[in-house]
Protein backbone atom coordinates (compact mmCIF):
# COMPACT_ATOMS: atom_id res chain seq x y z
CA UNK A 1 0.00 0.00 0.00
CA UNK A 2 1.37 3.47 -0.84
CA UNK A 3 2.33 5.60 2.16
CA UNK A 4 0.89 8.70 0.51
CA UNK A 5 -1.86 8.85 -2.08
CA UNK A 6 -2.97 12.13 -3.62
CA UNK A 7 -6.18 11.87 -5.66
CA UNK A 8 -7.25 14.77 -7.89
CA UNK A 9 -6.10 17.40 -5.39
CA UNK A 10 -7.08 20.93 -6.41
CA UNK A 11 -6.73 24.39 -4.91
CA UNK A 12 -7.84 27.74 -6.32
CA UNK A 13 -7.17 31.30 -5.25
CA UNK A 14 -9.92 33.32 -6.91
CA UNK A 15 -9.63 32.69 -10.65
CA UNK A 16 -6.14 31.16 -10.32
CA UNK A 17 -6.11 27.36 -10.17
CA UNK A 18 -2.86 26.85 -8.27
CA UNK A 19 -3.12 23.04 -8.14
CA UNK A 20 -5.35 21.40 -10.71
CA UNK A 21 -6.42 17.79 -10.20
CA UNK A 22 -2.99 16.39 -9.30
CA UNK A 23 -2.83 12.63 -8.56
CA UNK A 24 0.17 10.53 -7.58
CA UNK A 25 1.30 8.13 -4.88
CA UNK A 26 4.51 7.60 -2.92
CA UNK A 27 5.69 4.16 -1.79
CA UNK A 28 7.21 3.53 1.65
CA UNK A 29 10.96 4.21 1.66
CA UNK A 30 10.85 6.10 -1.64
CA UNK A 31 12.68 9.36 -2.32
CA UNK A 32 10.24 11.18 -4.57
CA UNK A 33 11.25 14.45 -6.27
CA UNK A 34 8.98 17.28 -7.39
CA UNK A 35 10.17 19.89 -9.88
CA UNK A 36 8.55 22.65 -11.88
CA UNK A 37 9.01 26.29 -12.91
CA UNK A 38 8.17 29.14 -10.51
CA UNK A 39 4.45 29.26 -9.81
CA UNK A 40 3.84 25.70 -10.98
CA UNK A 41 2.14 24.78 -7.69
CA UNK A 42 4.89 22.77 -5.95
CA UNK A 43 4.75 24.49 -2.57
CA UNK A 44 0.96 24.79 -2.74
CA UNK A 45 0.83 21.02 -3.23
CA UNK A 46 2.91 20.64 -0.03
CA UNK A 47 0.45 22.97 1.72
CA UNK A 48 -2.44 20.73 0.67
CA UNK A 49 -0.69 17.58 1.87
CA UNK A 50 0.53 18.98 5.21
CA UNK A 51 -2.59 21.06 5.91
CA UNK A 52 -0.35 24.03 6.72
CA UNK A 53 -1.71 26.56 6.21
CA UNK A 54 -4.60 25.03 4.22
CA UNK A 55 -5.94 21.78 2.76
CA UNK A 56 -7.34 21.13 -0.73
CA UNK A 57 -10.59 22.55 -2.12
CA UNK A 58 -11.35 19.16 -3.64
CA UNK A 59 -9.74 15.75 -4.02
CA UNK A 60 -8.47 13.32 -1.41
CA UNK A 61 -5.17 12.89 0.38
CA UNK A 62 -4.56 9.55 2.09
CA UNK A 63 -1.65 8.98 4.48
CA UNK A 64 -1.05 5.30 5.28
CA UNK A 65 -4.59 4.70 4.05
CA UNK A 66 -6.07 7.36 6.34
CA UNK A 67 -7.99 10.28 4.81
CA UNK A 68 -6.50 13.58 6.02
CA UNK A 69 -9.65 15.60 5.27
CA UNK A 70 -10.72 17.76 8.21
CA UNK A 71 -7.47 17.29 10.13
CA UNK A 72 -5.56 20.36 11.29
CA UNK A 73 -1.89 20.91 10.48
CA UNK A 74 -0.59 19.96 13.94
CA UNK A 75 -2.72 16.78 13.93
CA UNK A 76 -1.28 15.76 10.56
CA UNK A 77 2.25 16.40 11.89
CA UNK A 78 1.53 14.18 14.90
CA UNK A 79 0.54 11.37 12.50
CA UNK A 80 4.13 11.42 11.25
CA UNK A 81 3.67 13.50 8.09
CA UNK A 82 6.21 16.23 8.72
CA UNK A 83 7.14 19.16 6.54
CA UNK A 84 9.88 21.77 6.34
CA UNK A 85 9.35 25.14 4.71
CA UNK A 86 11.45 26.79 2.05
CA UNK A 87 11.85 29.79 4.34
CA UNK A 88 13.73 29.32 7.59
CA UNK A 89 11.37 28.42 10.40
CA UNK A 90 13.70 28.00 13.38
CA UNK A 91 12.61 29.68 16.63
CA UNK A 92 15.24 32.41 16.90
CA UNK A 93 15.18 33.10 20.65
CA UNK A 94 15.20 29.41 21.59
CA UNK A 95 18.38 27.38 21.87
CA UNK A 96 19.34 24.77 19.28
CA UNK A 97 18.35 22.04 21.73
CA UNK A 98 15.00 23.64 22.63
CA UNK A 99 14.15 24.00 18.93
CA UNK A 100 14.46 20.25 18.46
CA UNK A 101 12.80 19.63 21.84
CA UNK A 102 9.62 21.35 20.65
CA UNK A 103 9.26 18.78 17.87
CA UNK A 104 10.11 15.86 20.14
CA UNK A 105 7.68 17.03 22.83
CA UNK A 106 4.63 18.04 20.84
CA UNK A 107 4.87 15.95 17.72
CA UNK A 108 7.10 13.03 18.61
CA UNK A 109 6.33 9.64 19.98
CA UNK A 110 8.14 8.03 22.89
CA UNK A 111 8.84 8.71 26.52
CA UNK A 112 12.04 10.76 26.51
CA UNK A 113 11.83 13.83 24.24
CA UNK A 114 15.25 15.05 25.41
CA UNK A 115 16.94 11.90 24.11
CA UNK A 116 15.18 12.10 20.75
CA UNK A 117 16.13 15.79 20.44
CA UNK A 118 19.79 15.04 21.16
CA UNK A 119 19.75 12.11 18.71
CA UNK A 120 18.16 14.20 15.95
CA UNK A 121 20.65 17.04 16.48
CA UNK A 122 23.59 14.63 16.49
CA UNK A 123 22.24 12.95 13.33
CA UNK A 124 22.33 16.21 11.36
CA UNK A 125 25.82 16.98 12.71
CA UNK A 126 25.41 19.30 15.69
CA UNK A 127 27.97 18.79 18.46
CA UNK A 128 26.71 18.90 22.06
CA UNK A 129 28.65 22.16 22.48
CA UNK A 130 26.25 23.75 19.97
CA UNK A 131 23.08 22.73 21.81
CA UNK A 132 22.94 25.86 23.99
CA UNK A 133 23.52 28.31 21.14
CA UNK A 134 20.60 30.53 20.19
CA UNK A 135 19.11 29.62 16.80
CA UNK A 136 19.44 33.27 15.74
CA UNK A 137 23.25 32.94 15.92
CA UNK A 138 23.40 30.10 13.37
CA UNK A 139 24.50 30.36 9.73
CA UNK A 140 21.96 29.71 6.94
CA UNK A 141 23.15 26.11 6.47
CA UNK A 142 23.15 25.42 10.20
CA UNK A 143 19.60 26.77 10.42
CA UNK A 144 18.59 24.41 7.59
CA UNK A 145 20.18 21.54 9.53
CA UNK A 146 18.31 22.65 12.64
CA UNK A 147 15.00 22.64 10.71
CA UNK A 148 15.79 19.09 9.59
CA UNK A 149 16.67 18.03 13.15
CA UNK A 150 13.40 19.54 14.47
CA UNK A 151 11.52 17.56 11.83
CA UNK A 152 13.46 14.35 12.57
CA UNK A 153 12.73 14.74 16.30
CA UNK A 154 9.10 13.94 15.41
CA UNK A 155 10.22 10.52 14.11
CA UNK A 156 8.49 11.19 10.77
CA UNK A 157 7.12 8.45 8.54
CA UNK A 158 6.98 10.87 5.62
CA UNK A 159 9.24 13.90 5.37
CA UNK A 160 8.26 16.73 3.02
CA UNK A 161 11.29 18.91 2.22
CA UNK A 162 10.49 22.20 0.48
CA UNK A 163 13.54 23.51 -1.39
CA UNK A 164 16.07 22.74 1.35
CA UNK A 165 18.99 23.78 -0.91
CA UNK A 166 17.76 27.34 -1.50
CA UNK A 167 20.27 29.94 -0.41
CA UNK A 168 23.11 27.45 0.07
CA UNK A 169 26.60 27.48 -1.46
CA UNK A 170 27.78 24.62 -3.67
CA UNK A 171 29.77 22.83 -0.91
CA UNK A 172 26.78 23.23 1.43
CA UNK A 173 24.48 21.75 -1.23
CA UNK A 174 26.81 18.75 -1.52
CA UNK A 175 26.75 18.31 2.26
CA UNK A 176 22.94 18.60 2.21
CA UNK A 177 22.65 15.91 -0.49
CA UNK A 178 24.77 13.60 1.69
CA UNK A 179 22.58 14.38 4.71
CA UNK A 180 19.33 13.69 2.84
CA UNK A 181 20.85 10.39 1.59
CA UNK A 182 21.62 9.46 5.20
CA UNK A 183 18.04 10.27 6.24
CA UNK A 184 16.70 8.16 3.36
CA UNK A 185 19.03 5.32 4.35
CA UNK A 186 17.24 5.06 7.70
CA UNK A 187 14.16 3.94 5.75
CA UNK A 188 12.39 7.32 5.86
CA UNK A 189 10.09 8.20 2.97
CA UNK A 190 10.96 11.60 1.52
CA UNK A 191 9.08 13.96 -0.77
CA UNK A 192 11.50 16.59 -2.06
CA UNK A 193 10.75 19.85 -3.84
CA UNK A 194 13.83 21.50 -5.30
CA UNK A 195 14.72 24.18 -7.80
CA UNK A 196 18.31 22.97 -7.99
CA UNK A 197 17.93 20.17 -10.54
CA UNK A 198 21.29 18.59 -9.66
CA UNK A 199 19.91 17.89 -6.17
CA UNK A 200 16.76 16.26 -7.57
CA UNK A 201 18.71 14.22 -10.10
CA UNK A 202 21.19 13.08 -7.46
CA UNK A 203 18.52 11.99 -4.98
CA UNK A 204 15.17 11.17 -6.59
CA UNK A 205 14.07 7.65 -7.47
CA UNK A 206 11.06 9.09 -9.29
CA UNK A 207 10.58 12.67 -10.40
CA UNK A 208 7.30 14.51 -10.97
CA UNK A 209 7.18 17.78 -12.88
CA UNK A 210 4.33 20.23 -12.34
CA UNK A 211 3.44 23.02 -14.73
CA UNK A 212 0.72 25.63 -14.18
CA UNK A 213 -0.74 23.54 -11.37
CA UNK A 214 -1.04 20.31 -13.33
CA UNK A 215 1.03 17.16 -13.42
CA UNK A 216 3.18 17.31 -16.55
CA UNK A 217 5.42 14.22 -16.30
CA UNK A 218 6.08 11.52 -13.69
CA UNK A 219 8.89 9.05 -14.38
CA UNK A 220 12.51 8.18 -13.63
CA UNK A 221 14.65 11.37 -13.37
CA UNK A 222 16.81 10.51 -16.43
CA UNK A 223 13.66 10.05 -18.52
CA UNK A 224 11.98 13.18 -17.18
CA UNK A 225 14.85 15.57 -17.99
CA UNK A 226 14.81 14.47 -21.65
CA UNK A 227 11.06 14.84 -22.02
CA UNK A 228 10.26 17.59 -24.58
CA UNK A 229 7.29 18.79 -22.50
CA UNK A 230 9.60 19.41 -19.53
CA UNK A 231 12.15 21.23 -21.69
CA UNK A 232 9.34 23.37 -23.11
CA UNK A 233 7.96 24.15 -19.64
CA UNK A 234 11.36 25.28 -18.37
CA UNK A 235 12.78 26.96 -21.47
CA UNK A 236 9.67 27.97 -23.40
CA UNK A 237 8.48 27.13 -26.89
CA UNK A 238 10.71 28.48 -29.70
CA UNK A 239 7.68 29.43 -31.72
CA UNK A 240 6.47 31.63 -28.87
CA UNK A 241 9.94 33.05 -28.22
CA UNK A 242 10.28 33.99 -31.86
Amino acid sequence: MPLLTVESASKSFGALRAVDGVSFSVEPGELFGIAGPNGSGKSTLFNLISGIPFGPDSGRILFAGEDLAGRKGHQIARLGLVRTFQRETAFDTLSVFDNALMGATYGGKGPVPEERSAEALAFVGFAPADFDRKAAELSVYDRKRLMLASALALSPRLLLLDEPASGLTKPEIEALIALIRRIAATGATILLIEHVLTVLLALSQRLMVLNEGSLLVLDRPDVVVRDPRVIRAYLGDRRHVA
Binding site: I52, H74, R78, R83
Partner: protein
Protein backbone atom coordinates in the same frame (compact mmCIF):
# COMPACT_ATOMS: atom_id res chain seq x y z
CA UNK B 1 11.47 58.72 55.82
CA UNK B 2 13.54 60.94 53.54
CA UNK B 3 12.16 62.48 50.35
CA UNK B 4 14.31 60.07 48.35
CA UNK B 5 12.88 57.14 50.29
CA UNK B 6 9.31 58.31 49.68
CA UNK B 7 9.98 58.76 45.97
CA UNK B 8 11.56 55.32 45.71
CA UNK B 9 8.72 53.68 47.61
CA UNK B 10 6.12 55.37 45.40
CA UNK B 11 8.11 54.40 42.29
CA UNK B 12 8.31 50.76 43.33
CA UNK B 13 4.61 50.65 44.19
CA UNK B 14 3.37 52.26 40.97
CA UNK B 15 5.95 50.35 38.93
CA UNK B 16 4.70 47.06 40.40
CA UNK B 17 1.10 47.80 39.41
CA UNK B 18 2.07 48.94 35.94
CA UNK B 19 4.33 45.90 35.43
CA UNK B 20 1.59 43.48 36.47
CA UNK B 21 -0.82 45.03 33.96
CA UNK B 22 1.71 45.51 31.16
CA UNK B 23 3.10 41.97 31.20
CA UNK B 24 -0.33 40.49 30.47
CA UNK B 25 -0.87 42.94 27.65
CA UNK B 26 2.56 42.16 26.19
CA UNK B 27 1.98 38.40 26.57
CA UNK B 28 -1.12 38.57 24.37
CA UNK B 29 0.59 40.77 21.80
CA UNK B 30 3.73 38.66 21.54
CA UNK B 31 1.86 35.37 21.18
CA UNK B 32 -1.32 36.24 19.28
CA UNK B 33 -0.24 39.54 17.75
CA UNK B 34 -3.28 41.56 18.82
CA UNK B 35 -3.92 44.31 21.37
CA UNK B 36 -6.42 43.27 24.02
CA UNK B 37 -8.52 46.27 25.00
CA UNK B 38 -10.42 44.02 27.44
CA UNK B 39 -7.35 43.90 29.66
CA UNK B 40 -8.55 46.79 31.85
CA UNK B 41 -11.99 45.31 32.39
CA UNK B 42 -10.41 41.93 33.23
CA UNK B 43 -8.61 43.77 36.01
CA UNK B 44 -11.95 45.20 37.13
CA UNK B 45 -13.54 41.74 37.10
CA UNK B 46 -10.63 40.38 39.17
CA UNK B 47 -11.29 43.00 41.85
CA UNK B 48 -15.09 42.58 41.85
CA UNK B 49 -14.93 38.77 41.87
CA UNK B 50 -12.44 38.90 44.75
CA UNK B 51 -14.92 41.16 46.59
CA UNK B 52 -17.74 38.73 45.75
CA UNK B 53 -15.81 35.79 47.18
CA UNK B 54 -14.26 37.45 50.22
CA UNK B 55 -16.66 40.12 51.49
CA UNK B 56 -18.85 39.14 54.47
CA UNK B 57 -21.88 40.72 52.69
CA UNK B 58 -21.31 38.33 49.77
CA UNK B 59 -19.81 34.81 50.03
CA UNK B 60 -17.40 35.56 52.88
CA UNK B 61 -14.75 33.00 51.92
CA UNK B 62 -11.30 33.18 53.50
CA UNK B 63 -8.78 35.32 51.60
CA UNK B 64 -6.50 32.38 50.76
CA UNK B 65 -9.44 30.70 48.98
CA UNK B 66 -11.17 33.78 47.56
CA UNK B 67 -8.20 35.38 45.83
CA UNK B 68 -6.96 32.29 43.91
CA UNK B 69 -10.59 31.56 43.01
CA UNK B 70 -10.98 35.06 41.55
CA UNK B 71 -7.79 34.57 39.51
CA UNK B 72 -9.03 31.23 38.18
CA UNK B 73 -12.46 32.57 37.22
CA UNK B 74 -10.94 35.56 35.41
CA UNK B 75 -8.46 33.23 33.65
CA UNK B 76 -11.47 31.16 32.49
CA UNK B 77 -13.18 34.35 31.30
CA UNK B 78 -9.97 35.15 29.41
CA UNK B 79 -10.09 31.70 27.78
CA UNK B 80 -13.70 32.30 26.73
CA UNK B 81 -13.04 35.84 25.45
CA UNK B 82 -10.20 34.56 23.30
CA UNK B 83 -12.44 31.87 21.82
CA UNK B 84 -15.23 34.36 21.08
CA UNK B 85 -13.37 37.54 20.15
CA UNK B 86 -10.03 36.51 18.65
CA UNK B 87 -10.00 32.89 17.47
CA UNK B 88 -12.67 33.30 14.75
CA UNK B 89 -10.53 35.98 13.09
CA UNK B 90 -7.06 34.38 13.33
CA UNK B 91 -5.53 34.06 9.88
CA UNK B 92 -7.37 37.08 8.47
CA UNK B 93 -5.17 39.87 7.20
CA UNK B 94 -7.10 42.45 9.23
CA UNK B 95 -7.10 40.49 12.50
CA UNK B 96 -5.34 43.32 14.41
CA UNK B 97 -8.03 45.85 13.50
CA UNK B 98 -10.87 43.39 14.04
CA UNK B 99 -9.48 42.48 17.47
CA UNK B 100 -9.35 46.17 18.43
CA UNK B 101 -13.05 46.43 17.64
CA UNK B 102 -14.13 43.13 19.25
CA UNK B 103 -12.11 43.66 22.44
CA UNK B 104 -13.27 47.29 22.76
CA UNK B 105 -16.89 46.16 22.32
CA UNK B 106 -16.48 43.38 24.89
CA UNK B 107 -14.80 45.82 27.27
CA UNK B 108 -17.81 48.12 27.08
CA UNK B 109 -20.26 45.24 27.54
CA UNK B 110 -18.36 43.79 30.51
CA UNK B 111 -17.95 47.22 32.14
CA UNK B 112 -21.70 47.81 31.98
CA UNK B 113 -22.29 44.20 33.03
CA UNK B 114 -20.18 44.91 36.15
CA UNK B 115 -22.36 47.94 36.87
CA UNK B 116 -25.54 45.85 36.46
CA UNK B 117 -24.33 42.98 38.66
CA UNK B 118 -22.56 44.84 41.45
CA UNK B 119 -24.15 48.32 41.23
CA UNK B 120 -22.54 51.75 41.31
CA UNK B 121 -21.77 51.85 45.05
CA UNK B 122 -17.97 51.91 45.62
CA UNK B 123 -16.56 48.73 47.13
CA UNK B 124 -13.21 47.65 48.47
CA UNK B 125 -11.55 44.37 49.27
CA UNK B 126 -9.44 43.77 52.37
CA UNK B 127 -5.76 44.66 51.92
CA UNK B 128 -3.30 41.80 51.46
CA UNK B 129 -1.67 42.93 54.72
CA UNK B 130 -3.85 45.11 56.95
CA UNK B 131 -1.39 47.04 59.12
CA UNK B 132 1.08 49.83 58.60
CA UNK B 133 4.79 49.39 59.03
CA UNK B 134 7.05 52.08 60.47
CA UNK B 135 9.87 53.00 58.13
CA UNK B 136 11.89 55.69 59.86
CA UNK B 137 9.55 58.45 60.93
CA UNK B 138 6.80 57.44 58.49
CA UNK B 139 4.20 54.73 58.54
CA UNK B 140 3.85 52.82 55.28
CA UNK B 141 0.89 50.67 54.27
CA UNK B 142 1.75 46.98 54.61
CA UNK B 143 -0.50 46.32 51.59
CA UNK B 144 1.71 48.52 49.42
CA UNK B 145 4.85 46.82 50.71
CA UNK B 146 3.25 43.43 50.04
CA UNK B 147 2.54 44.47 46.43
CA UNK B 148 6.16 45.65 46.04
CA UNK B 149 7.37 42.28 47.36
CA UNK B 150 4.86 40.01 45.58
CA UNK B 151 5.12 41.56 42.10
CA UNK B 152 8.76 40.59 41.37
CA UNK B 153 8.01 37.08 42.67
CA UNK B 154 4.98 36.70 40.36
CA UNK B 155 6.83 38.18 37.38
CA UNK B 156 9.81 35.94 38.17
CA UNK B 157 7.49 32.93 38.14
CA UNK B 158 6.09 34.05 34.77
CA UNK B 159 9.66 34.37 33.48
CA UNK B 160 10.53 30.89 34.80
CA UNK B 161 7.35 29.50 33.22
CA UNK B 162 8.24 31.00 29.84
CA UNK B 163 11.90 30.00 29.96
CA UNK B 164 12.09 26.77 31.93
CA UNK B 165 8.94 24.80 31.09
CA UNK B 166 7.97 23.00 27.89
CA UNK B 167 4.66 24.88 27.64
CA UNK B 168 6.44 28.18 28.25
CA UNK B 169 8.95 27.38 25.51
CA UNK B 170 6.01 26.56 23.24
CA UNK B 171 4.44 29.95 24.00
CA UNK B 172 7.74 31.62 23.12
CA UNK B 173 7.87 29.54 19.93
CA UNK B 174 4.32 30.42 18.87
CA UNK B 175 5.18 34.08 19.40
CA UNK B 176 7.83 33.72 16.70
CA UNK B 177 6.36 31.49 14.04
CA UNK B 178 2.86 30.07 14.05
CA UNK B 179 3.35 27.87 10.96
CA UNK B 180 6.56 26.37 12.33
CA UNK B 181 4.70 25.50 15.54
CA UNK B 182 2.12 23.55 13.59
CA UNK B 183 4.93 21.81 11.69
CA UNK B 184 6.20 20.33 14.94
CA UNK B 185 2.75 19.32 16.12
CA UNK B 186 1.84 22.18 18.47
CA UNK B 187 -1.81 23.05 18.94
CA UNK B 188 -1.55 26.77 18.27
CA UNK B 189 -5.20 27.46 19.19
CA UNK B 190 -4.69 25.95 22.65
CA UNK B 191 -1.51 27.97 23.15
CA UNK B 192 -3.32 31.18 22.22
CA UNK B 193 -6.05 30.37 24.74
CA UNK B 194 -3.42 29.69 27.40
CA UNK B 195 -1.67 33.01 26.73
CA UNK B 196 -4.97 34.89 26.96
CA UNK B 197 -5.98 33.07 30.16
CA UNK B 198 -2.61 33.73 31.82
CA UNK B 199 -2.75 37.40 30.83
CA UNK B 200 -6.29 37.64 32.24
CA UNK B 201 -5.13 36.15 35.56
CA UNK B 202 -2.30 38.70 35.76
CA UNK B 203 -4.82 41.50 35.11
CA UNK B 204 -7.06 40.07 37.84
CA UNK B 205 -4.13 40.07 40.28
CA UNK B 206 -3.53 43.74 39.46
CA UNK B 207 -7.24 44.31 40.18
CA UNK B 208 -6.87 42.64 43.59
CA UNK B 209 -3.86 44.87 44.29
CA UNK B 210 -5.87 48.00 43.33
CA UNK B 211 -9.02 46.93 45.19
CA UNK B 212 -7.04 46.64 48.44
CA UNK B 213 -6.11 50.32 48.61
CA UNK B 214 -8.62 52.20 46.41
CA UNK B 215 -12.39 52.14 46.11
CA UNK B 216 -13.47 49.94 43.24
CA UNK B 217 -15.74 51.12 40.43
CA UNK B 218 -16.73 49.51 37.10
CA UNK B 219 -14.47 52.04 35.38
CA UNK B 220 -11.42 51.31 37.55
CA UNK B 221 -9.57 49.41 34.78
CA UNK B 222 -9.58 52.24 32.24
CA UNK B 223 -6.65 54.29 33.56
CA UNK B 224 -4.44 51.27 34.36
CA UNK B 225 -5.06 49.99 30.80
CA UNK B 226 -3.95 53.34 29.39
CA UNK B 227 -0.85 53.27 31.60
CA UNK B 228 -0.13 49.68 30.60
CA UNK B 229 -0.33 50.70 26.94
CA UNK B 230 2.15 53.50 27.59
CA UNK B 231 4.43 51.07 29.44
CA UNK B 232 4.48 48.41 26.72
CA UNK B 233 4.98 50.98 23.95
CA UNK B 234 7.72 52.67 25.99
CA UNK B 235 9.46 49.42 26.88
CA UNK B 236 8.92 47.66 23.58
CA UNK B 237 5.88 45.62 22.77
CA UNK B 238 7.76 42.69 21.27
CA UNK B 239 8.80 41.00 24.52
CA UNK B 240 7.92 40.95 28.22
CA UNK B 241 11.18 41.96 29.88
CA UNK B 242 11.11 45.39 28.21
CA UNK B 243 7.70 46.33 29.65
CA UNK B 244 8.76 45.17 33.15
CA UNK B 245 11.80 47.48 33.12
CA UNK B 246 9.71 50.24 31.55
CA UNK B 247 7.04 49.90 34.24
CA UNK B 248 9.53 50.62 37.01
CA UNK B 249 11.18 53.44 35.03
CA UNK B 250 7.78 55.07 34.45
CA UNK B 251 6.88 54.54 38.11
CA UNK B 252 10.09 56.35 39.09
CA UNK B 253 9.53 59.10 36.52
CA UNK B 254 6.00 59.70 37.82
CA UNK B 255 7.11 59.72 41.46
CA UNK B 256 9.86 62.27 40.75
CA UNK B 257 7.61 64.36 38.53
CA UNK B 258 4.72 64.41 41.00
CA UNK B 259 7.04 65.54 43.80
CA UNK B 260 8.98 68.18 41.89
CA UNK B 261 6.61 69.30 39.09
CA UNK B 262 3.15 68.44 40.32
CA UNK B 263 0.40 65.89 39.92
CA UNK B 264 -1.45 67.62 37.06
CA UNK B 265 1.58 68.14 34.81
CA UNK B 266 2.91 64.61 35.23
CA UNK B 267 0.76 62.87 32.57
CA UNK B 268 1.67 65.55 30.00
CA UNK B 269 5.36 65.18 30.83
CA UNK B 270 5.09 61.39 30.62
CA UNK B 271 3.55 61.53 27.15
CA UNK B 272 6.18 64.06 26.03
CA UNK B 273 8.91 61.63 27.11
CA UNK B 274 7.08 58.78 25.39
CA UNK B 275 6.93 60.74 22.12
CA UNK B 276 10.66 61.53 22.32
CA UNK B 277 11.47 57.86 23.02
CA UNK B 278 9.38 56.73 20.05
CA UNK B 279 11.08 59.29 17.80
CA UNK B 280 14.50 57.92 18.77
CA UNK B 281 13.56 54.22 19.14
CA UNK B 282 10.23 53.52 17.39
CA UNK B 283 10.32 49.85 18.49
CA UNK B 284 10.53 50.91 22.17
CA UNK B 285 13.35 51.35 24.64
CA UNK B 286 14.29 47.70 25.22
CA UNK B 287 12.76 45.93 22.23
CA UNK B 288 14.09 43.89 19.39
CA UNK B 289 12.53 44.41 15.99
CA UNK B 290 10.63 41.10 16.11
CA UNK B 291 8.20 39.49 18.55
CA UNK B 292 9.89 37.08 20.92
CA UNK B 293 8.60 36.68 24.52
CA UNK B 294 11.89 36.53 26.41
Amino acid sequence: MTVLGQILLSALFQGSLYAMMAVGLALVWTTIGVFNFCHGVLMTLGAYLAWQFVDPEALGLPMFVALPLALLVVAAIGFALQALLIRPFIGRGDVVLVAVITTLAASSILKNGTLLVWGPRPKSIPPLAPDTIALGASNVSAHQLAIIAITPVVLGLVWLFLNRTRVGLALRAVAQNEDACQLVGMNVTALYALAFGLAAALAALAGIFFGGFKFMSPDMGTEPLTKALVVVIFGGIANITGPILAAYIIGLFEAVSIYYVGFYWTPALLFAVLIVVLMVRPEGLFARSSRGLA
